[in-house]
């Protein structure tokens, strides 16, 4: 529980009933708070997925600090280097040379050269209009044995693409078109392995496909193997730029099968996959029934305990809440600052089905004190919801937690039961950065 230090007279925040909420932006923007839930991945975690790679950041000390300590906490300082910028660098017109010289200096001091170096520049560089392509070209000429990737830590410059989506796109940049292996398909865009028990894999298997996932690559050559895939599937909207770029550069056909919680949409996803694979869709009615049974079993155990869900736990929090509400759960709160355009249908349906569902922001300045004001009698899905509700009963996942399809829903039911029965040390759990990554804490 938060300890109050100010003694000031402040305004408390109340949730907005979904019936009164605007779509897609329910709250006014302003100064922002940062809750201490650290499980979501950042560009360092994602970049580390490339085996035998070494990240180099070129930016100001304040920007370096976060990425360097991300690497330190995941015991990966041997895969991270940096160049610190000062005032002179902003104005002397030598920024390109500074990046080039800094990277060369680091590479020359390495005991063993990496196969790939993602070079990250910052807002300052883009604002100054550097020629990053030229820098990458020059570095590639000097070190033809290394693939350099232009990467970006540019949280200010988000007019066209979010930092998260940009990182996922650049993650596959070195992948080049190889001879197509008809027995290989790929899952891209997920930072963590997708559960092998998902019917997704049954379908791939029925089509005679092995599945490439970046999390399964142990070498850089394994990683480059994506270039031979006959089909690449992604399930998160944030990976759409990655899918489009991969298809444009390599010709690999991509297919978006959204990670969702609507039975009919899941069936349509599998129909689309089977069409792409040229096979008849298997009968998944048993899987569908198992998913329903799992949720019913969870409802039985969880009872009327209110449920709170945050946007980091699942890509479609409203769709997820709708599914739970339809199974009789007492869905009480959603924590999100914006709704995905994909959620309009669920939004409209929830307005009718559950008009009192409370929407809370996560960034509003008053959320600093939300943990004071919560009873803790919640079952939360997601770390931010757990923190704000001050509860130790929560499903500790981000980005869907690797659960996909009917099997994913079945597993989600089991996770709800587990969270209800086995309270966690909330602070210790959500303080760890990059859920699923190694941590020295």
């Amino acid at each position: 529980m938060l300890k109050k230090v100010g003694g000031y007279d402040r305004e408390e925040i109340k949730g907005t009933a979904i019936a009164q909420a605007s779509f897609p932006v329910p709250f006014r923007s302003g100064l922002e708070y940062n809750p201490p839930a650290r499980g979501t991945w950042n560009i360092v975690h994602t970049g580390m997925l490339i085996p035998q790679s070494h990240q180099i950041y070129v930016c100001a000390q304040g920007c370096l600090r976060g990425v360097v300590l991300t690497a330190a906490e995941m015991n990966a300082m041997d895969r991270m280097s940096w160049v610190s910028l000062r005032e002179d660098d902003m104005f002397n017109g030598e920024m390109e040379q500074r990046i080039y010289d800094g990277v060369v200096h680091i590479v020359e001091r390495m005991d063993k050269r990496p196969r790939c170096i993602p070079v990250y520049v910052s807002c300052m560089h883009l604002f100054e209009g550097i020629d990053f392509a030229m820098i990458i070209d020059e570095l590639s000429k000097k070190y033809p044995d290394i693939d350099f990737i232009d990467c970006y830590m540019i949280p200010t410059m988000r007019k066209s693409i979010s930092p998260d989506a940009l990182m996922k796109r650049q993650l596959y940049k070195p992948v080049k078109k190889l001879d197509t292996d008809e027995s290989l398909a790929a899952l891209i865009g997920f930072d963590r392995p997708t559960d092998r028990s998902s019917e997704l894999f049954d379908i791939f298997s029925a089509a005679g496909k092995k599945v490439w996932e970046i999390t399964g690559c142990s070498s850089y050559d394994d990683y480059l193997g994506l270039g031979s895939a006959s089909l690449a599937v992604y399930g998160l909207p944030v990976a759409s730029a990655a899918g489009a770029d991969l298809e444009r550069r390599t010709g690999i056909k991509t297919l978006y099968l959204p990670l969702c919680y609507d039975h009919d949409e899941i069936s349509r996803n599998y129909d689309a996959l089977c069409d792409a694979l040229g096979i008849k869709c298997p009968d998944l009615s048993d899987k569908r029934t198992e998913a329903d049974r799992s949720l019913d079993a969870a409802r039985e155990i969880v009872g009327d305990m209110p449920i709170a869900v945050d946007f980091t736990a699942v890509p479609r929090p409203l769709g997820f809440c709708l599914m739970l509400a339809k199974h009789g759960f007492r869905v009480s709160r959603v924590y999100t600052d914006v709704f995905s355009a994909e959620e309009k249908g669920s939004f409209d349906e929830l307005k009718k089905l559950l008009p009192e569902l409370e929407i809370y922001p996560t960034l509003d300045v008053r959320m600093r004190f939300a943990a004071h004001e919560s009873s803790g009698e919640f079952l939360a899905v997601g770390q931010k919801a757990a923190y704000f509700c001050n509860t130790d009963r929560f499903v500790n996942i981000i980005e869907g937690g690797g659960m996909y399809g009917f099997d994913g829903i079945k597993k989600m039911g089991e996770a709800l039961i587990d969270a209800y029965r086995h309270p966690k040390d909330t602070k210790a759990t959500i303080s760890l950065k990059g859920l699923g990554c190694e941590s020295c804490l």
């Binding site: 109050k4 305004e11 300082m77 280097s81």
Partner: protein, 383 residues
């Protein structure tokens, strides 16, 4: 100097220093930077963030507002938040983007103060310097803004200047300093930073002397000397013997009205041991080792912003990884944060984590070195 590192960490930046220094005063501190950039401070540089509330926020600067110079959005957001939260003061500090676009943070603070009626000020930062620069300026700002002329306390009392978790961690070090002073008959009039309040800032001038325990306290010490004639002594009371010398120096300074430099008389300089880090903490440890074990030690100031006045002849200031690596070869033993170990080729490396360098990574193993025999607190130091 190329400010390039192959493998070592980087120190907390000026922005974090501001937020850390002002954390406990009931004010609202706002970083002018992009959405999410405050997570660096709240994750790695602020161990109080989870358990102790404080109004530290970010402006969520966007590309459009940066390009178009939309300062009004920032001011409006500050006023809106202040209306909801009613902070004791408003402090704003800047990151690289406002520095590039030439945002006038002083004017923004002035306008915000006028509109809200809440004392407001800007602390000069741009994300390109260390936490010492930011914390030092933030401490000085609240001292200038809130300290008042006051009658000297009847009992002999001192101010402790420069206490942030970035240097002291949350391992009881500050409590031990206060205890040690009291055990030596010295009252703590005010402590700038941790365990403090605006009331303490208001009565800063009542102290007879200042104890500057880290470089972040130096600017305020200079201000209090100039404004109220309070002399200062620099040093953190590591080890029993050095602590005695510090408390004696505080009494001496209070009596004479002059600042006292005790490092020259307490330290045996040389190259046997290299102590890497912030200058005042490292010099104090070097002094303690000299007094207790007759060890010659040198300080390798590795931040670039530390108080250089305490460095002696064999000491050096070096921010660059290559230079630090070469300098460490000159000593047979190195005492440093564990994230320096990869560039230390000497077999004897003594881990002394520093939150400002390694953040949360080793915070559980940061020793409390105040007033105790050093061998009880850190690994046995070989001569």
């Amino acid at each position: 100097m190329n400010l390039t590192a192959r493998i070592i960490s980087v120190y907390a930046a000026d922005i974090s220093g501001v937020c850390s220094a002002l954390y406990e005063y009931g004010g609202m501190t706002v970083i002018h930077d992009a959405s999410g950039c405050n997570s660096t401070y709240t994750t790695h540089d602020e161990p109080r963030w989870y358990d102790t509330d404080s109004m530290v926020y970010i402006s969520a600067l966007t590309e459009n507002d940066a390009v178009m110079g939309n300062d009004e959005k920032f001011i409006s957001d500050l006023c809106d938040a202040a209306g909801k939260l009613r902070p004791a003061f408003i402090a704003v500090c800047g990151s690289p983007m406002p520095a590039m676009t030439g945002v006038d943070l002083e004017a923004i603070a002035f306008d915000t103060g006028n509109r809200t009626g809440i004392p407001s000020f800007a602390v000069r930062t741009n994300g390109m310097h260390s936490y010492i620069s930011g914390a030092g300026r933030a401490f000085e700002s609240i001292a200038v803004m809130f300290s008042e002329p006051a009658k000297k306390s009847d009992a002999f009392s001192v101010n402790i200047l420069g206490a942030t978790p970035l240097d002291l961690s949350l391992n009881g070090t500050l409590g031990s300093i206060k205890e040690l002073l009291r055990a030596n008959g010295i009252e703590v009039n005010a402590c700038l930073g941790m365990g403090s309040s605006l009331d303490e800032v208001k009565r800063l001038s009542a102290a007879h002397a200042d104890l500057v325990i880290s470089s972040a306290g130096k600017l305020t010490a200079e201000y209090l000397l100039k404004e109220y004639g309070i002399p200062y002594v620099i040093g953190i009371p590591f080890g029993g013997k050095f602590s005695e010398r510090l408390t004696e120096a505080l009494r001496g300074s209070a009596a004479s009205g002059k600042c006292t430099d005790i490092f020259k008389e307490c330290r045996k300089t040389g190259y046997d041991i290299a102590i890497v880090g912030e200058s005042i903490l490292s010099s104090s440890l070097a002094a303690a080792l000299s007094l207790e074990k007759d060890i010659s030690a040198r300080v390798v100031e590795s931040i670039g912003d530390s108080d250089m006045s305490v460095l002696l002849d064999t000491d050096i200031s070096a921010e660059d990884e290559d230079i630090i690596e070469k300098e460490l070869e000159r000593s047979h033993t190195v005492i440093a944060d564990p994230l320096f170990e990869p560039i230390c080729r000497k077999p004897h490396f003594i881990r002394l984590p520093h939150e400002a360098f390694s953040g949360r990574c080793f915070s559980k193993e940061i020793p409390n070195l105040i007033g105790t025999e050093l061998d009880k607190s850190i690994e046995k130091v070989k001569v």
